[in-house]
Structures are given as C-alpha cells and as structure tokens.
C-alpha cells in the first residue's frame, strides 16, 4: 500500500519464507527488508508468527522454502552460530544470562579474548566489555556480578552481548515488556544510538505508542503471513489495528445461550505491591468472564493471588456471599475455587506420575477413608472425567508426560473438575494445543457454564475471547483498563484498551 522513494538498499532481505510445523503453517510467503540505520516495527497478535520469524532469522529454525539474503548474498543458517557469524543478533523476550558470572564474562561468553597461553584474557575482556557498554550508553560495571543487577540492566547486558559480535542486524523481541517507564526510556535511547551507528533494527512490539515513537517502518503479520508494510509516516494507528485484527477465520466456537445465575465471586480492591492494583469485579454462576491483556499486564498474577499462590497486599474475596481468607491453594480448593495454570509442565501437571494419580491428586481427601486411598474409586473418578473430555491415551496408568499437550491439558482440567468446584479459572487454556483439542476444551467450557459453574478464562487470543466470553475484562499495566459487555467487545476495542491507545 506504501512505496519507498528514497532509501538505502536493504542489508537483509527475506523472500518467500515458509515454515511449517506438523498441522500448522507458521509462516507462509514472508518477504521482509531491513535497511541500515532504520527501525522496522513488527506488529501482530499472539500466534501471528513473529517469534517464528525471529527464530528463522537467528538460525534456530530452518525454513522449508524461501531465501535469506545478506547484502545481496544468499545465506543459509544451519545453526544460531551461523546467523551470529554473518552479523545478525537477537535479544529475546526472556534474557538468559549466567547470574554467577560477571557482566564482562556474560558479554563474551563463547568468544572471550584469549592470551597467548590460551587462557581467558580478563584484562582485554573487561576493557572491551566497557567499550561495548559505553557504546550502548549503559552505566554498568563490567566486573559486577549479573545476579546483582536489576532487570533493565540485565537487558542491557544481553544487548551488549548481542553487539559484541559486531552485528549489523539487531532483532529486539518485545524488549520493553517487563520494564518500568524509566527503564523503557533507556531502551528507546539505546535504539536511537544503534540507529545512528547504522544498524538495521527489527523491533517487535505490541505497544502502539512505542511503535510510533521509535520506528521508521512498519510490518504487520497475521496468521503467519505479512499483511502490510510501509513507512510509519504514512500510516495511522487505526490502520494498524485493522490490519492486525483482520477478519476472523476458521475457528468455530460452541453456540451457547448464557443464563447467568446468582453472583458467585466478588473481588474487591485486590492489590499487590508490584504486580497489580485495585482489581475489582464480580462473576455469576453460568457466566464466562474473559480476561484479555498483553503479556505482562498482570492477568496471571491476579489469578494466582485469587488461588492463594501469592498473597495480595489488600482486597477482599467473597465466594457465594461469604468472605473467604485464602492463604494457599489448599484453602482455595476448599472454598471451591480452582485454577488451571498456563504453565502446564511446571504448575499444572505432575509429569512422571500416571494420569490417574494426576486426576486424583486434589481430590485425595474425598477419595480416601481415614487417610487410606480407595484405589477403585480413584480409577473410577479418572475414567469418568477423562471420558467426558475425550482424552486420548493408551491407559490411565500411563505417565502423563507421554501425552500430547492437548491431552495433558485435558487431564489437568479433569483433575480440577473432579473437585467439583464452583469457580474455575483457566489461564490460556488452549495455548500450544492442537485444533482438535482446542475445540474439545471450548465445548467443555461451554458445558461447564451451562451446568452453573462460574468460569474465568484468561486468554491472549482475540477469537477465543470473542467466541467464548459473556463479559470481558481488559487489563493493562496491572490494572483493569476496561470492563466490556459482550455487545461492546470488538477486536479493535480489545487491542486498543490493552495497548492503551485511545482513538
């Protein structure tokens, strides 16, 4: 839709990049040019293919089709090392650093300067680290231990590490997601400095304000394809929102008639010293409440506080009209509130234990008499709930770790339903699971609501929020940005409220 008039030739060009995973086309026919001394913003919803593209660029994934050209020369990356060698550096969302090592050691890990004897030349390393840090304007002591630094400083160290290899293309994957306002300014200043040094920068972000502030060009991804690109000067925020959301395709959600009953959950003024503040909402039996927001908006933190994993600093929770004091997940379960976490492998399932044990775990009290487990009932319970969720498995005594992600999620949901809760919180319930399992989970959520359960669904997927919710809370920066009825909920509204952009 836009055209470039005067510009330098691109340093990096992608042509027709395609990347497939079993059952999914993650990227199809992607073209992208990055120019020296310019910032190209890459925007798109979760699952649009941004992270996949970063992994292709950095040699972690090999594309099935397409070309990567660096200054007109075709390149194929067999490993992350190859990408680094031609001058592409990426700073990932979650920076992985070695906490026990110094800043200088982290920056030069893997390519430290050596002395004549083959030992690490610490003096040269510290001097070069100081040089790299000065180039990005970071006031960090190269001899400091990384474990003693704050998040923003660690980010800067990660950036310094990426630049220590003399990169010409720098990929920043949501670098400001976890930072405070002041720290974000430091990152912007750094981007300006990199630009001035003639680096080509790919800046991935969800936030419109920063895209318009620092980018020169824009690119929008949707469903694994590039749907538009051009100069920032020629585009409006409305244009970007429209392109990001597009029309919704392919997913069918269960038809359901909402029939809300009595108020079951009343949350009043829930606050946490650092993660969230002043969260209030209520929820009726038979209702599905969607909670939308960007990564880092504090949605999971609120839900885990309700479930008793973390302690809120203020606020009250009433379930069924009576105030409850929840200090641990055990208390929450006793009060009839359960939580299906987003991190299935670490928090949701006990990998290494059989399916039947996983399902029975929170219900052990009900399944045992005087502390002795009645194993026949344990199996009966597991059989009952996994059957309702259409679990695919070889046997109930099979290790849950051997199941696919979708089937693991069914077991985790089954284990919570077996406790017969009044309120169920599902945190990204269909993240990373196949389409078939997704539909099963959606159908089941509708069924639960119809049976009178109060359901809270945290989701970053707009179609899912639109397709399943009776009402939607949008969170931004640890607060509720807006509370929408079903009629008010539109893709544009969700994106705007979550990003903090008022038309």
């Amino acid at each position: 839709m836009m055209h470039d008039t005067v510009t330098t030739p691109p340093v990096l060009s992608l042509r027709g990049i395609e990347k497939r995973f079993p059952g999914v086309i993650a990227l199809s026919g992607v073209d992208l040019d990055l120019h020296p001394g310019e910032v190209t913003a890459l925007v798109g919803e979760n699952g649009a293919g941004k992270s996949t593209l970063v992994k292709v660029l950095t040699g972690i994934y090999r594309p099935e089709a397409g070309q990567i050209e660096m200054e007109g020369h075709k390149k194929a990356f067999a490993s992350a090392h190859d990408a680094e060698a031609v001058g592409i550096a990426a700073i990932h969302q979650e920076t992985v650093l070695f906490e026990e090592l110094t800043v200088a050691e982290n920056i030069f890990i893997g390519h430290a300067p050596r002395t004549r004897w083959g030992l690490i030349d610490h003096r040269a390393m510290r001097a070069r680290a100081a040089d790299v840090l000065a180039r990005i304007g970071a006031k960090i002591d190269p001899a400091a231990r990384v474990g003693d630094l704050g998040i923003a400083s660690r980010h800067l160290v990660a950036i310094a590490r990426a630049l220590s290899t003399e990169a010409r293309v720098v990929v920043l994957d949501e670098p400001t997601a976890a930072l405070s306002a002041h720290e974000i300014e430091e990152v912007y200043a750094l981007v300006e400095r990199l630009k001035a040094q003639g680096k080509a920068i790919l800046f991935i972000s969800h936030k419109f304000d920063e895209v318009f502030r620092i980018a020169d060009r824009w690119t929008v991804f949707r469903d694994g394809a590039l749907v538009g690109a051009g100069r920032i000067a020629d585009v409006t925020e409305d244009d970007l929102v429209r392109l990001m959301v597009g029309r919704e395709v392919g997913q069918i959600f269960p038809d359901r008639v909402s029939n809300p009953g009595d108020v079951v959950v009343e949350v009043e003024g829930y606050s946490h010293p650092t993660e969230f503040a002043d969260i209030s909402f209520d929820l009726r039996a038979g209702e599905i409440l969607g909670v939308y927001g960007l990564v880092g908006a504090g949605r999971s933190e609120v839900m885990q506080a309700l479930f008793g994993v973390t302690a809120p600093s203020a606020g009250t929770l009433r379930i069924g009209g009576s105030a409850v004091d929840i200090r641990s997940p055990a208390d929450a379960i006793a009060a009839g509130l359960v939580y299906v976490p987003e991190d299935r492998g670490r928090q949701g399932a006990i990998l290494g234990l059989p399916i039947v044990d996983n399902v029975a775990l929170p219900s052990l009290g009900a399944l045992s008499r005087k502390g002795f487990v009645r194993m026949a009932e344990e199996f009966a319970l597991a059989r009952d709930y996994t059957h309702r969720l259409e679990l695919r498995a070889a046997a109930l005594d099979q290790d849950i770790g051997q199941l696919s992600g979708g089937n693991q999620q069914k077991v985790v949901i089954a284990k919570w339903l077996a406790t017969k809760p009044r309120v169920i919180i599902l945190d990204e319930p269909t993240k990373g699971i196949d389409i078939g399992s997704k539909a099963a989970v959606h159908d089941f959520m509708a069924e639960l609501a119809a049976e009178g359960l109060a359901v809270i669904m945290v989701s970053s997927e707009i179609p899912e929020v639109l397709g399943m919710s009776d009402r939607v809370l949008v969170m931004r920066g640890g607060r509720i940005a807006s509370a929408l009825t079903r009629a008010e909920t539109t893709p544009e509204r969700l994106v705007r409220d979550a990003a903090g952009y008022a038309p």
Binding site: F307, V309, S328, P329, A330, A332, I333, Y339, P341, R346, Q347, G348, A349, I350, L351, G352, L353, I355, V356, D357, A360, L361, P362, L364, G365, L367, S368, G371, F372, V373, F379, R383, T386, H387, E390, L391, R392, A393, A394, A395, L396, D397, Q398, K415
Partner: protein, 334 residues
C-alpha cells in the same frame, strides 16, 4: 457387546499391563535375583552360613539401619534428604545413657530415645521448611552438631548401666531364632508400605518429589508434608537408637558412626531415585536384606571391614548400572 470404536465412546483402559506383567519388569525382581545370588554364593562359600542361629545373628547387620531407611526413602522420594540420622542416634543414645545414670526405667528410656529423635527431626524440618534452606546443607550441619553434643557430654567416657529389662529390644527373642528387632523391622516395613503405597499422604509424597510447584498448585501443603517426613525420620532414628543402645548395652559418642551413608546406600540400592519422585518400600526391604547378607557372608570369610565397604560400594554401582547397561547393549544390537 461389540466394539463400535467411535471416538466418543472410546474408553481409555485402566492399566497398560497386567499386575503380573508390571511386576516382572520391576526393580524388585532384579533385587530378588541379586538376593538369591548372594545367598547361594554365601551358602557355597562358607559351611557356617546355612545355620538358623547364624542367619538370625546376621539380621542385626541391617534391622536397625533399615528402620531409618524406610523413613529416609519417603524423604528422598519427596526430594529431600537427612544426613544427620546417625548423629541423631548418638544424641538420643547419650540422652538415654544420661537418664539411666539417674535411675530412669525402661519406659522412660524408650520415651527419651524416641523424644530426642522427634526433636532432632523437628529441628531439621523447621530449618528446611521454615527457612527454606537446602536439606543437604542443613543436615550436614546437624550431623556435626548432634554428634558434637554427644562428644561434649561424654568425651572419652561411656554410659552403661542400663536396666536389665531394657536389653529386651536389642537382645530379646520373640520365638526360637526370631529376634525382637526382626519383629520391629517387619512392623516398620508394613507400616511404611501402607503409608507410602496406600494412603493419600503417600500420594502427596510422590507428587512433591516429581514436581513441588505442581504439587503446591494442586492444593498440597508441601511444607507441612516435608516437615512431617523430617519428624518421621527423626522418630525412626530415635527408635534405631533404642534398639542399638539396648543391643550394645552402652553408649559411646562414636555410636553408629557412618551409618548415614549406609542408610542412603540402602535406599538407593532399593530403587529409590536419589533425585526424588520414585521408589518403593519392598525395594528398600530387599536392599536391606541384601546388604545384611553381603556383610555377614564376607564376615564369615574373615574379610576385613575396609574390604567389606569396597564390596558394598561395588554392589551399589553394579546394581544401579545394570539396567542402564542392558538398554545400551540392546540399543547396540538393534
């Protein structure tokens, strides 16, 4: 009834293999084979081995250690460890000895032995679960601390003069060659088998060992369970102290020196994953018997103690390495 095999009516079976099928593939079967081999070897090597009274004496090599090993197995399955158990014996025995000097009777002595064990377990448990310290460090510390107190109290002296009736625990016979300690061992084995394999507490122990975060998110009071396990380990150490003190009839501060490693060896040989999450009580029972028989058999052959510990070490490595070797060889042949 015919199988319609439509996806909606598909029922997931309870078990992949029959009970027998699973049993044959288990670690315990391997241990039984080892036990039979050791028994046969001993019987052929020494004419004194196949004698009821000698075999009865041999059980003292493992009964007291095994009592602790049962509790230790649960603790290790839950992902923690207690290396202070032998020092708890020393401290409990010293306390009993001191009480005996001022005329305490057998019931009081037993109560003191078990009570000191419980207190030591509570101390370890409070440091680990209350302050969140790593158990290996905490119990290395209390290993020195508890025995250090014994040395402080006793120096190079020893306590003796226990009441005659106190000898029943370590020297008494229930019937023919069946010792009191064998009965206590069997009762402990049964109790811990039930606790680990048949109660909801046992399920929680496995869940914690496999994934402490997931266990917490499943509503398990992780710290409470772990504290209970430290208490149990302390209590069983106290019980072992009662039996050992009764058997020896005197207390020196070096009592049960080095037992913590033998107990851990027993647990690991029994098939408990040292990283937590899996293991069984029958495995530990078999491992205890094997270790007892190896020690006894080597004793009959007049092998010195140092060489014995070499054998126990080799046995442990061999049994642990065997399944791994089998898979490697299979992979090579396939």
């Amino acid at each position: 009834m015919t199988d319609t095999a439509s996806p909606a009516s598909r029922q997931v079976p309870d078990r992949l293999r029959s009970r027998l099928g699973r049993a044959i593939r288990s670690w315990e079967v391997l241990l039984i084979a080892v036990a039979v081999a050791v028994f046969t070897f001993n019987a052929l090597a020494s004419p004194y081995f196949l004698n009821a009274w000698n075999l009865s004496d041999a059980t003292f090599n493992f009964t007291e250690k095994a009592m602790i090993a049962f509790a230790m197995a649960l603790l290790i399955i839950a992902g923690e460890i207690d290396l202070s158990v032998a020092s708890i014996i020393a401290l409990a025995s010293t306390a009993m000895g001191a009480a005996a000097q001022v005329g305490a009777g057998t019931p009081e002595l037993v109560a003191i032995g078990l009570g000191v064990g419980l207190l030591c377990g509570a101390f370890n448990g409070a440091l680990v679960t209350g302050l969140g310290l790593p158990s290996i460090v905490v119990t290395i510390g209390t290993l020195s601390l508890f025995r250090g107190i014994s040395y402080m109290v006793l120096g190079d002296r020893s306590f003796g003069g226990y009441p005659t009736s106190f000898a029943w625990f370590g020297q008494g016979y229930v019937w023919w060659v069946i010792t009191v300690e064998m009965v206590i061992f069997a009762l402990c084995a049964l109790t811990f088998w039930v606790l680990l394999h048949r109660t909801s507490f046992g399920r929680q122990v496995y869940a914690i060992g496999n994934n402490p975060t997931g266990a917490l998110f499943s509503g398990i009071r992780v710290r409470r369970v772990k504290f209970t396990l430290f208490l149990l380990t302390g209590l069983m150490s106290g019980l072992a102290a009662v039996c050992l003190t009764s058997r020896l009839g005197s207390t020196r501060p070096s009592i049960a020196q080095g037992w913590e490693l033998e107990v851990v060896t027993m647990v690991v040989l029994g098939g408990v994953n040292i990283l937590g999450g899996s293991g069984t009580i029958p495995g530990v029972v078999l491992a205890a018997i094997i270790m007892g028989m190896v020690t006894f058999g080597l004793g009959l052959l007049n092998v010195p103690g140092i060489v014995m510990s070499i054998f126990v070490g080799l046995l442990l490595i061999a049994v642990i390495a065997l399944p791994r070797l089998v898979t490697l060889v299979r992979a090579r042949w396939a």
